[in-house]
Amino acid sequence: MIDFIDYLLGGISSGAIIALMALALVLVWRSTRVVNFAQLGQAMFTTYIALTVRELTGSWFLGLIIAMAAGLVVGVIVHFLVIRPVKRLDTSGAIIATFGVLIALEALAAMVWGGDPEAFPPPINNSGYEAFGRIWPFSPYDLLVLASVVFLVLALSVVFTRTNVGLAMRASAFNPEVARLSGVRVNRMLVRGWAIAGLVGAVAGVLVAPLSTLSPTSFDIFLVFAFVAAVIGGLDSLVGAVAFGIGTGLVIALVSGYSDSSNAPLVALVLLVLNLLFKPEGVFSHHKARAV
């Protein structure tokens, strides 16, 4: 039993981070009906930027802030590369374009920073809290991660539900024509969706880097996990992304704990397949599965 709790505790912060990554995917999907397979590549890139800033200034926080800004910018750039011109083409074009961006970003990162895995030290202590005479698999850094994710998710939900911009973005995602007829500049809202997704992904990348390694391809596996979480939650559902992001993190922790960590991707795939076969629109979606 104590093992079980340990595994869950160990999985919370990675679950929270996967929730952010899934959230980014859903944000982009809702605004433009595209799964941005380059999302985690963007996050990897901005995390390298954070590392560089940190090496130059010694401040993790400054690195985070600059990574967030870079995330906004990169998100906008990728949007224009993939969406604006591609919209007229079939969906497979958009998918292929995002993979093209992913390939280019990974190669660019390797050219600038090298392909070796880098260590990204946590800003605060990453060893477990001591309590009741044992060391728990939950550290001050895990607490920071959790707090950051909660804060970001709350901030986003406030923006989406209580601000005009958020309303305009939601409307643009649900029904772009009606939004246009209400005077909303829909294209701008789409760009903002990608920008915010880039920012969210950047935060996720900086948070996850100390928990694994940073290399041009080290976030590929997270793309898989985030995608699985987003799909199971329902690509339309922000709540679903968060809920199943955490769930995925917990499942991975349990799988890694009870068997082998290399089983985790396979388990995730099995869950994805089951979901696609039985509830393809996702658990939280109230739309029927769209014919893409």
């Binding site: 409307a171 029904n175 024509e177 009606v178 939004a179 246009r180 007829l181 209400s182």
Partner: protein
């Protein structure tokens, strides 16, 4: 106020509108009627900027707005209530309304919102409920309300009677007519239900296969039996 000048629009390969010209003056309802496929919706969508005309111009307050984007046309003061229930069911009633006219000042929007709730009390009652809980007629009211929130000078109504009970249709259209007279709104009403439309309109324009057959005082057209039989189906 709103003038359409020799407008020709293709819908796919079909010539939906051929050389159509008409005026939409303020303070009254102008009705465009005709059978299905006559080109009425194409006219509306083109005015709203959702379709690009092949030839011709759209002039608003003597300014050429042909080819402008929909979101810009709305900001200029022309609001379209499109065919079908053009509300967003995922949002609440209030959110649907607040979607309109975000560029206006807080005061302007507050005034408009009060007015809309006064015109359509049921919207006020259900303001925090999802738009999907409304009936068909209520949703039509919501759609009109949203258009009004943009503070328009010209209101385009595309087949508001579709799928609604006659009583409700009459109610809504009479309300619109009152609004037009009271506030000087220029209303262009497009309808398959010619009878009701002609009752509230000052001027009637009959469209058939993309061309204007005749136009004149609504009462005269309503009384012209031959015309009605030939183009309006009654």
């Amino acid at each position: 106020m709103l003038r359409i000048d020799a407008l020709s629009v293709n819908y796919g390969a079909v010539e939906a509108l051929k050389n159509v010209s008409l005026d939409v003056p303020p303070g009254r309802v102008t009705a465009v009627i005709g059978a299905n496929g006559a080109g009425k919706s194409t006219l509306m969508r083109t005015l709203a900027g959702l379709e690009k005309p092949l030839a011709g111009r759209v002039l608003f307050n003597d300014e050429d707005i042909t080819g402008s984007k929909p979101e810009d046309i709305v900001r200029m003061g022309i609001a379209l209530v499109p065919e079908g229930r053009s509300t967003i069911p995922d949002l609440t009633v209030a959110e649907n309304l607040k979607l309109g006219g975000m560029w206006r000042t807080h005061a302007q929007r507050a005034t408009s919102l009060t007015r809309v709730y006064a015109l359509f009390p049921v919207l006020g009652e259900r303001r925090h409920l999802g738009a999907d809980t409304l009936s068909g007629g209520e949703r039509q009211q919501l759609a009109i309300g949203r258009a009004l929130m943009t503070g328009p000078q010209a209101l385009l109504l595309d087949e508001p009677s579709l799928g609604l009970a006659p009583l409700i249709v009459t109610q809504i259209l009479e309300l619109v007519e009152h609004m037009a007279r009271d506030s000087g709104l220029a209303v262009l009403l497009v309808e398959q239900n010619a009878a009701t439309a002609l009752r509230v309109a000052k001027t009637g324009i009959v469209l058939n296969l993309g061309e204007i057959v005749t136009s004149g005082p609504a009462r005269e057209i309503a009384q012209d039996e031959e015309l009605r039989h030939a183009y309006l189906g009654y």
